[in-house]
């Protein structure tokens, strides 16, 4: 039985991991919900984000500036991928979409490996996030606390875009019933470009923010992608609140289980998904209908 401070520390780790998963999964789930495309390149884009932070930090010496430029880079990358490749696959079967996004993922990861090599790179913690913070019952790394707060703000921003703008209205309606959106005079395809780019920026940003916490390797996104698939199934496919809540639940399960026995953490996650699929196949926030 781990000690209480150790458990509390793991609970905070779960929150950090969970908020990160929430951000990654939000991108995945709105792309899936709106475009109908399951983006298997999502994990690779996470790594691309982390490497973008690695490179940009060396040039700018400022974490904040690096992140802003990095977001611009991810936005352009998202636009390019949608216009040049993804767009051609909207009317193709799901197998083709999976194959092409999986292929894009492999190409991106191997490009990263070709440029930076396979060894782990280290991204330094930003100057304002050094050290640890005394929380009374527990001392916790400052940057991880900031990470949780930053991601919470980003998710709030994403919420405002989805729930307070016309584009968000079209995206939410399109996730529910794309045909009816068309019947009401809206060309949904015009929003696809923007939604895909937003999803890419979200996952890239997650990679950038997480880079100081982990070893940056070309394959670092693979595990994240697998976990975020679980998250969007937990939350309900295409559901933004589902991705957020599902991400937090998944983060806590993985972290708290590893406080007891780390080899079971993934097992517990998939066990929970299996259980939920039996009890509530549409996910926590999902409604029956579109997949």
């Amino acid at each position: 039985m781990p000690s209480w401070p150790a458990l509390a520390s793991q609970a905070f780790n779960g929150l950090a991991l969970g908020s990160l998963l929430a951000l990654v999964s939000s991108g995945l789930t709105i792309i899936l919900g709106t475009l109908g495309v399951l983006n298997f390149a999502h994990g690779a884009l996470f790594a691309v984000g982390a490497y973008a932070a690695f490179v940009l930090l060396q040039y700018t010496q400022s974490f904040l500036v690096a992140i802003v430029i990095g977001c611009g880079f991810m936005l352009v990358l998202g636009f390019l991928l949608e216009r040049v490749i993804i767009r051609l696959f909207y009317d193709r079967p799901h197998e083709d979409q999976i194959l092409v996004t999986y292929g894009v993922g492999i190409v991106l990861v191997e490009c990263v490996r070709a440029i930076f090599g396979g060894n782990a790179q280290r991204v330094p913690t930003p100057s304002w996030g050094q050290g640890a913070t005394q929380l009374g019952f527990l001392i916790y790394p400052t940057y991880r606390l900031q990470l949780i707060a930053i991601i919470a703000m980003l998710l709030a921003g994403l919420y405002l875009v989805l729930y307070r703008t016309s584009m968000g209205l079209v995206v939410r309606a399109g996730i529910e019933n794309p045909r009816m959106v068309g019947i009401l005079g809206i060309n949904l395809r015009r929003t696809f470009l923007l939604v895909f780019a937003i999803g890419v920026v979200a996952v890239g940003l997650a990679g950038m923010l997480y880079a100081p916490v982990v070893a940056v390797t070309p394959d670092m996104g693979a595990n994240f992608m697998a976990q975020s698939f679980v998250v969007i199934v937990l939350g309900g496919l295409g559901s933004f609140p589902g991705a957020v809540v599902g991400g937090l639940i998944a983060g806590e399960i993985v972290s708290l289980t590893s406080a007891f026995n780390s080899s079971y953490s993934e097992v517990m996650l998939y066990a929970l998904m299996a259980l939920l699929l039996v009890l509530r196949p549409q996910g926590l926030f999902g409604s029956e209908g579109r997949v």
């Binding site: 079209v170 529910e176 045909r179 068309g182 019947i183 009401l184 005079g185 060309n187 409604s287």
Partner: protein, 234 residues
Amino acid sequence: MSLLEVERINTLYGDSHVLFDLSIRVEQGEVVALLGRNGAGKTTTLRSIMGVLAPKNGTIRLDGTPINGLAPSAIANMGVQLVPEERAIFGGLTVEENLRIAALTAPNAWSFERIYGVFPRLKERRKSLGRTLSGGEQQMLSIARALIRDARIILLDEPFEGLAPLIVRDLVNIAAGLAREGRTMIVVEQNVAAALSFATRVYGLNNGHVVFEGTSAELTANPDLARDFLGVGA
């Protein structure tokens, strides 16, 4: 020139041929009912006009401009508006958001106040999620989405299906009011009496062919006609 001219269209669902050289026309300000048995092709006719199911051949003209082959969104923006049988309310959006998204691309969109004047019930429920509405309220919202766009021609697919008689009466009154104001509509309905109460002209469909064309008065005067040709009681 008629507002809407459907000329010898053939529409298929996969391999099954549903509409055969079907022709109908609708004048400005007219309410036309499409009647017929299940599977006669009524819904398919509306879907063909809306572009949801593109006809294989033939032409559909709105004000003389061919619209067949265009995307539903383009056809909607020319002023055609389908109110689908399944109502297709966005359940995760509020009533007002459902109206807002409908009005988004309409150049002459109505104000919310004007819509709520027609459907006071929707005003009371404007903050409610679509999925919490009753069947009647959903139908009102579905019609309201077409009206707020100020559609030139509204295609009503089974608007009264599955609703309680009292609610049907309210909706018929609303539809009759729109008809009096000169709103052009095509209505597909199993409830023939309800449809004839506000439609001026009727097309009878059977197996994807037009088998009857006449005024509502003619059909009401000859109940046998409805029974024989359409398998429906007037």
